[in-house]
Symmetry: C2
Subunit: 477 residues, 2 copies
């Protein structure tokens, strides 16, 4: 049957038994100590070799990165730093890794260097820890929703609709790339394309989630979404994964309650299940920040920051209150903001969000009731006629991590809002149907998964928390 | 706080308490009995209205599809078919559903009709049951892998590689659709496209999964994949979700063991967690098949079929044995096969697979060790030099549900196979790196999620087990 993992072996239950494990060499010291890792845990197991017993030709093949099968006896360790080790009886070399050419050597590599080797960087402690935490977060998300009566559904990736307006889209086509067929009017004839119409990659599954919420009650998507925007920042990807819950009969307060409980819960889950990986990542971050000036370092070590989020209430502040705070803030008065806050109605920039979260409140913040003019057409208009029931959750160091709203469930008002924005009713006939037949108040939000991973792992660049990042001018692997 | 769901209420623990629920009217009989459903369960709760107490104008608005908030006392039911019911004190109509125009009336609609209303069909018993089962299957999959030490990772959706050869691909682009920029040679200049190269939608995350397995040990993907093939069948979609586990240090036998254990486990999970939905779907299937000739009906009712799969070993048969069986089979001798089996090396068609599974073995079958010529380049060559360590799992009524293999881990042989197929080494430089550095035996498979849902729900058309199907000439919603 399947070989046992190092994670299992390190639990120490197989003491004094003969076992066989597989893994990759992290280091080989003094022709005697092999530190072997198989990805099941951040820890290595020490395999002690009596080199006189082994063929020199075999020992020569053992270097960082080589894949080995090792049989031996599990014994209590003599050395420090581990409780058990293997007295090696047999070594089989699956595959070598020539030290002259293998790029992942046991020394510090820059994250930039490793991005060029995305297929191999996962063999480092940093990336394997990040990806194990990410996997655990994904499971925590499914577990949370399942236990709370939500149904998971798959929103379409290829969409024939471009009415969502969340951003620039990628076109999906099988037409001839150089000489596409043309209509009589001289435009590209998408009737001849695969789907018989122009299609794009989705920017959000929300509209479809609304259709499902209006039948199943509580649903969520967890899938890839796309933005064809030329944003080369540490927070943007052209392809990223989003979690979008949508709940019938929820108003904006229910929505905020859910979002906060959800985030706390999944972070609690990884604190419980990924302790060793998070401890490693905390140490990594401390090391990295040593070379930075004090003002740029994190206020808290990683684990403390995560616990802080799970244990404290998010501060809920209306947009109007936030504008007041910002208007009267020191950086605004001293003209330190690139975009000074002058009046109600202006959109908040990253610098303003960071000021609110990191300087003023010093905790996660939920901003709500934004001006209608700066938010999407589907958000519910308040009685005041000028704000909508929107909410954004802002996190320290990350900025916006959640964007959501109560949706406009009133057919007449929705139609007015669409008309004002020149959105064709024919494009969204089915979305309007949801308001014609059995409409009810409902709400939902979107959470960018990679931003949550950034926050949870303490990594600084979103390209380092997705296996093979897609950004402008980059679709390698 | 959040309103309670009907699923909770039906548990009966709130007997004699005043409660408030929300939902959609399924039926309203005798101006007295409202059957209300909120999607949390296939069951409705009966709400008993004393019509003399309510405004006629309110009662008039109550028809199939209307969204209501109902307050009342939970009491033991007098009628048959339910244990509890609500004595209604108050009704609020969230939204009406005009019986003249609302398409989902309480009568039998054809699946074809409902496909045109994919945003509303989820309000029927059939589709809500299918989608709840599907959601539960998805969770069972994540749970199984998590509990068995696998890490979930996201393979890229947009890919710059077209070397996988699993099928026709969709192009992803932001270039001008009518007048794309051209190179000096007159071809489209993809250097000017968003990613600086030609990109497509992925057909499989396997190659990337191999990179991750060769560091984390056991990994899996669960994400959308695409085929730009003009297949208008009941088993094909242009966009579908696939589960792809990949395991370092697993050979083909380990792979078969895992696949079988995995499928049995997730079906067991839904048998346990979706009993009411599956019972409904079983009854639906029996009704549907009543009009069919005996020979076309299912051999077993749905639940029995699912239990059969969980309780019996899959039959493992080599391709060579399978060819012998087929060659000597009645339909082959009587020339009933459209593609007669004449010699070793021929690819198996759907008719052959169905014969093996449904007529000969009458159980799920794992075929293994296929001719190298009819399988992909990355499958491990056997000692015989003519077969590869491939395996397909065939299911009754569905055909191929899993395709997998042990991968070719030997650099020299992999290069030879790529050369023979004219696959450019430069395209897959990183895939070859996995064999240069720390290579080891490894295996994996792909399971089409919607095909598993088809099998589990007893539905007949794959368009009915995905919310908004994408097929040739169809990308509505």
């Amino acid at each position: 049957m399947h070989p046992i993992t190092i994670k299992e072996v390190l639990k120490g239950k197989l003491l004094l038994q003969d076992i066989t494990i597989n893994g990759w060499v992290r280091t080989f010291r003094s022709n005697r100590f092999i530190a072997l890792n198989d990805g099941s845990t951040i820890n290595t197991i020490q395999c002690v070799v009596d080199f006189e017993k082994f063929d020199e030709e075999v020992l020569k093949q053992i270097s960082t990165g080589a894949a080995l099968k090792i049989s031996g006896t599990l014994v209590e360790s003599q050395g420090r730093g581990q409780s058990v080790e293997i007295q090696v009886n047999d070594i089989h070399v699956h595959g070598t890794a020539d030290p002259e050419t293998y790029p992942i050597q046991p020394k510090k590599h820059s994250l930039e260097f490793l991005r060029e080797k995305a297929h191999l960087r996962i063999r480092t402690n940093t990336f394997s820890a990040v990806m194990r935490v990410k996997s655990s977060l994904a499971f925590a998300i499914h577990k949370y929703f399942t236990e709370n009566g939500f149904y998971y559904f798959h929103a379409p990736i290829i969409t024939g609709s471009d009415a969502e307006g969340a951003g620039e889209m990628f076109r999906v086509t099988t037409l001839d790339d150089k000489n596409p067929p043309l209509t009589e009017e001289g435009t590209v004839d998408y009737k001849q394309d695969f789907f018989g119409k122009e299609t794009n990659l989705t920017v959000s599954g929300q509209l479809e989630a609304e259709a499902y919420a209006m039948a199943l009650g509580k649903v969520y998507t967890f899938g890839p979404t796309f933005r064809a925007e030329n944003s080369n920042t540490a927070r943007h990807l052209a392809e990223f994964w989003m979690i979008e819950p949508e709940m019938a009969f929820y108003d904006l307060n229910d929505n905020m309650d859910l979002a906060e409980d959800f985030i706390k819960n999944v972070i609690r889950y990884v604190l419980e299940h990924c302790k060793e990986d998070l401890e490693f990542l905390e140490k990594r971050l401390l090391d990295e920040e040593k070379s930075k000036p004090q003002a740029e370092r994190s206020e808290m070590p990683l684990l403390e920051k995560l616990k802080f989020v799970t244990e404290n209430n998010f501060k809920r502040v209306s947009y109007t209150e936030a504008i007041d705070i910002l208007k009267n803030s020191k950086p605004n008065k001293k003209k330190k903001f690139q975009y000074p806050i002058e009046e109600w109605g202006t959109d908040l920039q990253s610098e303003h969000e960071r000021y609110l979260v990191e300087k003023h409140f010093k905790c996660p913040v939920i901003l709500f009731d934004y001006p209608a003019k700066i938010k999407a057409f589907y958000m519910r208009l308040n009685e005041d006629g000028k704000t909508v029931r929107a909410m954004d959750i802002l996190f320290p160091g990350i900025g916006e991590i959640v964007g959501g709203s109560q949706r406009e469930e009133r057919l007449d008002i929705l139609k007015q809002k669409m008309a004002a924005l020149d959105i064709d009713e024919k494009e969204l006939w089915w979305y309007l149907d949801l308001r014609k037949f059995g409409t009810a108040e409902h709400s939902g939000f979107g959470l960018g998964f990679e931003r949550l991973v950034l926050f949870t792992t303490g990594m600084g660049n979103i390209r380092d928390v997705i296996p093979f990042p897609r950004t402008p001018q980059n679709a390698e692997f």
